[in-house]
Symmetry: D2
Subunit: 306 residues, 4 copies
Amino acid sequence: MTPDTLRPLLDRIGADMAAAEDRGRVADYIPELARVDPAQFALSVAFPDGRVVSTGAAQTRFSIQSISKVFTLALALGRLGDSLWARVGREPSGLAFNSIVQLEMEAGRPRNPLINAGAIVVADALLGQYGPRELLAELVRFIRSACEDDDIHINEAVARSEAETGHRNRALAHFMKSMGNLQNPVEMVLGAYFHQCAVEMTTEQLARAGRFLIHAQGAPRLVAHARIRRINALMMTCGHYDGSGEFAYRVGLPGKSGVGGGILVVVPGQVSVAVWSPGLNAQGNSKLGSEAVELLARRTGWSVFG
Amino acid sequence: MTPDTLRPLLDRIGADMAAAEDRGRVADYIPELARVDPAQFALSVAFPDGRVVSTGAAQTRFSIQSISKVFTLALALGRLGDSLWARVGREPSGLAFNSIVQLEMEAGRPRNPLINAGAIVVADALLGQYGPRELLAELVRFIRSACEDDDIHINEAVARSEAETGHRNRALAHFMKSMGNLQNPVEMVLGAYFHQCAVEMTTEQLARAGRFLIHAQGAPRLVAHARIRRINALMMTCGHYDGSGEFAYRVGLPGKSGVGGGILVVVPGQVSVAVWSPGLNAQGNSKLGSEAVELLARRTGWSVFG
Amino acid sequence: MTPDTLRPLLDRIGADMAAAEDRGRVADYIPELARVDPAQFALSVAFPDGRVVSTGAAQTRFSIQSISKVFTLALALGRLGDSLWARVGREPSGLAFNSIVQLEMEAGRPRNPLINAGAIVVADALLGQYGPRELLAELVRFIRSACEDDDIHINEAVARSEAETGHRNRALAHFMKSMGNLQNPVEMVLGAYFHQCAVEMTTEQLARAGRFLIHAQGAPRLVAHARIRRINALMMTCGHYDGSGEFAYRVGLPGKSGVGGGILVVVPGQVSVAVWSPGLNAQGNSKLGSEAVELLARRTGWSVFG
Amino acid sequence: MTPDTLRPLLDRIGADMAAAEDRGRVADYIPELARVDPAQFALSVAFPDGRVVSTGAAQTRFSIQSISKVFTLALALGRLGDSLWARVGREPSGLAFNSIVQLEMEAGRPRNPLINAGAIVVADALLGQYGPRELLAELVRFIRSACEDDDIHINEAVARSEAETGHRNRALAHFMKSMGNLQNPVEMVLGAYFHQCAVEMTTEQLARAGRFLIHAQGAPRLVAHARIRRINALMMTCGHYDGSGEFAYRVGLPGKSGVGGGILVVVPGQVSVAVWSPGLNAQGNSKLGSEAVELLARRTGWSVFG
């Protein structure tokens, strides 16, 4: 597959998505995000060397939200290695992205680092290595390196908006604090977490940033090969909350979604894909985004499953 | 990777496993299986064309148990197509292989076809297509075709032993019956289910049988390409019960385990692997079997994740 | 309160209930019970000496269903004493009457003897003391003694009807069997259980039978005083499934309901009350029955709470 | 029963308790309470007219903690009437006092007002009627009236200590806030809640204060008769968390425990009882306190159950 052969495929998918009637529902629990126009759509594919093919609003920035969990997980594994796993598991959760039930059943140890509770623990672990500002600076630096683009920033208004309304995440964090699985003050950890979620990128940038997970000639080498595989495995089994099995079944590629409507998808050894459409499905994943990458995978034959 | 380059790798793994001290615990809830000698180990790799490289007791038959769920799923998708999904989901369960909790929370619809409840529903669905004996004959025929070996049978003593003691599965089946998700009499469905679990194979046979999921030149073509991918996806996210995330993380390949101590692993496009060692870990998967395929994947570089 | 002062109260309640528009829904999972006319209502109050005041169809027999759990509990405590509590708890369940979730969370030990799972354990315990027929004979004998009336029988058609459709109870029983909390064969225990539920009584008979829990001069003395208190305590906290708190709040008296639409209520030291109306509320308790005893308690001032 | 006949009974119970070897474990999650000497014990019985008979350290103040929930419930029902029940249920919880699982299963509506989540909702509801200081002043005034003693205060150090460490309660409150079941800011509600828990009383004072629930000649009349019954019913079914059924079974009287080791028990129409011993049992209720009131009930014959 080359950029030239890919371009007409993307254009056709873009046209299909433009014609979609049911676009899902924009998340409304973060006021700043609730105002986003649901009619938007963008899809970008980045090759290892950095060339990108796109369709739709690929220059429009959106809030990456939970996709940031992939970057902080990579950072945390780099700094802490396998000791991280003492505090967070590696199993799919079988429940909603912000469920607190499972946290109680498992005594405050989140099921995996890609659900909210797990990512809050990852942020706490990183705060044992960095000060709060330093951590966010390191995260942005990591994303910029992966993307080879310095024009990537945190949207303070979104971070603040989530800080004001993030009661469910506060419940998760205080619960884990009460179980001894947070070492820093809850508000400090949540401050870092809300800021990491507020990173803004275009699909072009996100597709380029995802190249650190491709493991192919020419892609930025920020993480060891063995670790790339493991992060991809976690994205495959846990990247879409309680829709992870469905995504693996339909798309067959590791991916991570965010409530901002973005999804990062990795085609190991080949390309990195970013899609964005703000309307969500019942599992909290981008509705058109999921459909678009399913079409893309089917038409290109991309799948890790043979 | 050729049979010749693979052979010394397998021998080394066989030697490592022979030296293992903690071999896990043999499942004791099926009396016939409880008597199996835990010191046994076998590992076989089948190439698409049918050549097999093995180490250990690769000619010893063992009870494939839940690995049979992969074959009945393939049969059911072949006969019923996507209508099967009205009665069973595609998400990892996040709980033990025989949990009834989730079944109640989800009103009698099992989370996926690779946990017990889901496989019982698959058996019930197939019993809408075949009579009980006919179904078992069809299953054996399917496995023999995949394996290109007619010396594969059901062990009646094991089926009877499980029928006498399978109260947990009866609880699952009666629960689903009460919720309207079983159409045939409970004892008829369980009869078929206990018999499918009692198929006996050697690792050589199982590795050869698994080739229908490889999708490569020379492998038996029993299932459409798109369906192969989907079955592999389900094995990846759901094939090891509440250890599925761990297996994906450590091994990075689709697999399905059984309480008899066997595991079937697919390396898409390349080979099919079968491992057997009767001692189980805490999640009910073969302890040495899991370790052996992890070593094999690491040393060969096999992984779907890049 | 005397029979004479009580009679006009009962008549007024009977009239109120006759005028009720929403009569609840007749249970439909036992075919024999589903055919009962929902327009029926009866209320009887028995004094310690056996005098009874009634309103409505107090001579019509109905299936006492779960009210039988009170009688088998009394029998089991008499035969086994406190050793019974090793196998069943004494806490309200917080869930539906036939929930299997809690059973898994608590490893096969039912929360209390007044939910289905608990009563099945009680039946199993009694089957360690009596043969199956002997047990049912003993139960009927106990109820006849309490009632001082020999015209009390088991309706075989109802027992058979439940045996054919009782998949949820089979699920509970097989689950407990798999956890080692049933000693006899599942079908033997369920046979006893379905028969005990199929005892038929009129409200007059049931009110008279309930006198063994009053502890007052003239009432039949079948159970020690300390045990009467304890059975009443269990009826108060657990007698109405997940509506037990509501019944205590509204009525303030120990009671036990059955899906046949009956409720037995004890006014300690004073009277025993039986009410019947086949339509059930959302918690599976008689809708008009609950309302009638609430009215009765309010108008008589009967309450254990001051 | 008169004060004179009661006194020797109390002395004997005091002696029994002094000889107890296993005194339970003092709660350690509130640092200020963790330092309390577990060897202490006190038991007081108040008659409607205010006469009190005691044994042990009946002049020592202790933190009433969750017993305060009875007083705030009475206040809230007085101000809001039955509209309170739109936001909190009346069923026993079947789970630990601070469980968050059930809260998620029931969409943020606590099961009853006597578990932590429920009492936090009650505090929030009262904060719609009073300012924060005004509410605490009103609560103290209510308790002083019931007790007819003005020397009752809030221990600021305990309130602060709990505010610093109360992460589990913060988790509950933020969860309910996220579900729309808290109207005031979380920290304001928890501030009130932590302060209400920090009221300090002696058993003499607490026994006297409990008289408003006796409904007898001479007792303070602060709450309507119908409401007294209903509060007693809630104490019976929900007053001891997941040990409520056990307390009803063993003691047979409405009661409410606190993690400070106190228990308030009502004998309707007769007396009010307060017991205190800081060591707790597995359900979080005073170990010796529970045993002492069980002995007291048995020896006096007090029970609501006949």
